[in-house]
């Protein structure tokens, strides 16, 4: 659904992306994984058409992204930023209605159908009780869910999420990844950047590992998140354990401490 081939981007003379390729398929959660500052967010902005990148190909659903006007892009790709507090807090229902903007026309007049979609989406994500609360009075996890609901209401085949689970508590992290899994099950191409190797290993179908603006590995989590990849990203810091064949990346200091205590 979303394809980037050999994508390059520089801020002035400083290259941020040096030939990145990405292929997000419908029905899958694709993870974009790498340490802070590796270019994940810039790659997102290029894919969304917010930055003009050079690429051999950059298409969504077969359309070249650079030549799509914003209104048309917004019917193909939805974007979920990290949760934030806007200066004028709309009600939760109105924030989700913002996702209908590409269909509303110039005046933003919502039809009964738009309202139904917003209501259904709030219900589906489990936010119906909060529909009439001001957005800024929710918890961080709830705000993140509202922004995801906004993207779902946008009814796009591709959804890009920027670190949706970072900064949230365990319960909310699990909840958010659950929502993303079910979005993929319903046929969406979900693209999600994350700096948590475990989240990527547990919840993504496919992963692109980035470092310093280049792809260092890609494939299924088992193929991409190997010891060699981890050593490259986190030299001497990582250790790999497994719980019932589920891989768990741990800090080496923790593992060493345990082994020392046991012996």
């Amino acid at each position: 659904m979303l394809t980037a081939r050999n994508l390059r981007f520089s801020y002035g003379a400083f290259p941020v992306l040096r030939g990145v390729s990405l292929d997000a398929r419908a029905g899958e959660v694709s993870g974009l994984f790498g340490p802070n500052g590796c270019g994940k967010t810039t790659l997102f902005r290029c894919c969304l058409g917010l930055l003009q990148a050079k690429a051999d190909a950059l298409t969504v659903d077969g359309h070249p992204i650079a030549s799509l006007p914003p209104a048309q892009r917004a019917r193909l790709m939805a974007y979920v930023p990290q949760e934030h507090k806007p200066p004028f807090p709309l009600l939760v229902r109105d924030v989700v209605m913002l996702g209908r903007t590409p269909y509303l026309g110039l005046l933003g007049r919502a039809t009964a159908e738009d309202r139904r979609i917003v209501g259904d989406t709030l219900e589906w994500i489990g936010l119906a009780d909060l529909a009439d609360r001001p957005y800024d009075r929710l918890s961080g996890g709830q705000r993140q869910l509202v922004l995801i609901a906004r993207a779902v209401a946008q009814r796009t085949p591709v959804i890009l999420l920027d670190e949706p689970a970072s900064g949230l508590d365990f319960h909310n992290q699990v909840r958010i990844w659950g929502v993303l899994r079910s979005l993929a099950r319903q046929g969406a191409a979900v693209v999600c950047c994350s700096h948590d190797p475990n989240h990527v290993a547990w919840f993504c179908d496919r992963v692109v590992v980035m470092q310093d603006g280049s792809v260092v590995a890609h494939g299924t989590p088992a193929e991409a998140l190997t010891g060699a990849t981890l050593e490259r990203l986190y030299p001497d810091d990582w250790d790999l354990a497994s719980a019932d064949n589920v891989p768990v990346v741990l800090p080496r200091s923790v593992m060493a401490g345990r082994r020392g205590a046991r012996s």
Binding site: G49, R73, P86, P87, F88, L91, L104, G108, E123
Partner: protein, 348 residues
């Protein structure tokens, strides 16, 4: 039969409630206009008012009463001008606050007021100045905003922070120019400048109304139509674009409308402070932050507020008080009252 609770309870009832508020504001404005027409040194009863209205302007002859002349030549243009200017400043304030994503912004932030003040002062002080004071003020306002945009422009875009900073810079330059002109002015001109700076509708006439009216009504219509897009823009430029709204184009159009409405208002009545900053806040406290309601609500409430202040300014004492003093004196306590009333709801 009772409706089963289900997705239906997520149904939206608020637009209707918002519409009721707007209708109430409109009704209050209409009543305020009638009241303002009857209030003044020459008392006019509602019956006189109706007779004068049905008679049309300048009925002339023996039927022409003093009341009719006062109404048609003095009060009506003044009432209309005050309402138009109030609507323009308040709705522009709402647009500036939403598109700059900053509740402390007012429509004068980009130098409209200081540019207009400089133009007006130049027109008042320099005898060889060829333009009328109003036209000079209008051109000064546009010049200041134009310079601000040129300064802020980088790579085809004008980021908000740079815009605001340029506004501060250019504003202070023009303010220095006004100070210089004041210093050079003789006593009579200095007095006029000071009066102009405090704002007032003393000289309102039909010509003002026919110039200000179409501009303000057109610009306000553009701003009202942009209510939803302002909601989108207030989430930030990146998000707005991913929601299908071109942030640069829409901000440009909406700010141009707001600037034009503000400039033509300031040029005709001087610098009326406080309305552009306060009214949108008052409306948000009453109706919530949805700009589809905030922009028209601000227009109506701003019109009502300036109309009330101007009527007070001309009728409280035997001589006129500059309306800027009244708006600040009345607006401050009003906003403080709203903040205290609504604090529990807003922050509780």
């Amino acid at each position: 039969m009772a409706t089963p609770p289900g997705p239906d309870h997520v149904n939206d009832a608020r637009p209707h409630r918002g519409g009721l508020w707007l209708a109430a504001f409109g009704a209050l404005l209409a009543m305020g206009m009638v009241a303002a027409l009857t209030i003044g040194t020459i008392r006019v009863s509602v019956a006189d008012l109706l007779r004068a209205l049905s008679g049309g302007p300048g009925a002339g002859g023996p039927d022409e009463t003093i009341a009719s002349a006062v109404l048609w030549n003095l009060r009506m243009p003044r009432v209309l001008l005050a309402s138009l200017v109030g609507a323009a400043l308040a709705s522009s304030g709402a647009v500036f606050q939403a598109s700059f994503r900053n509740p402390l912004v007012e429509p004068y932030i980009l130098g409209v007021s200081s540019g207009a003040a400089f133009g007006a002062a130049a027109g008042l002080v320099l005898p060889q100045f060829p333009l009328s004071v109003q036209l000079a003020a209008f051109l000064g306002a546009l010049a200041a905003v134009g310079i601000v945009h040129l300064l802020a422009r980088s790579r085809g875009d004008a980021p908000i922070v740079t815009l605001v900073l340029s506004g501060v810079v250019v504003g202070s330059m023009f303010a220095a120019g006004v100070s210089l002109l004041k210093y050079l002015a003789n006593d009579a001109a200095l007095r006029e400048i000071v009066f102009w700076l405090m704002g007032g509708c003393y000289f309102a006439n039909w010509r003002d109304v026919t110039i200000v009216g179409p501009v303000v009504i057109g610009a306000t219509a553009i701003m009202m139509a942009g209510g939803w897009r302002l909601n989108v823009l207030s989430m930030g430029d990146h998000e707005a674009e991913t929601l299908g709204v071109d942030p640069r184009l829409n901000r440009r159009v909406l700010l141009a409308a707001a600037t034009l409405a503000t400039a033509v208002s300031v040029a005709s009545v001087g610098i009326v402070p406080w309305i552009g900053l306060m009214t949108p806040h008052a409306v948000r406290m009453l109706l919530g932050p949805d700009n589809r309601l905030v922009v028209p609500g601000s227009a109506l409430l701003g019109a009502l507020f300036l109309l009330a202040c101007d009527t007070a300014a001309r009728s409280l004492t035997s001589s006129e008080i500059p309306v800027g003093i009244v708006t600040a004196l009345a607006g401050g306590p009003f906003l403080a009252y709203l903040v205290r009333q609504r604090t529990a709801g807003l922050f509780g």
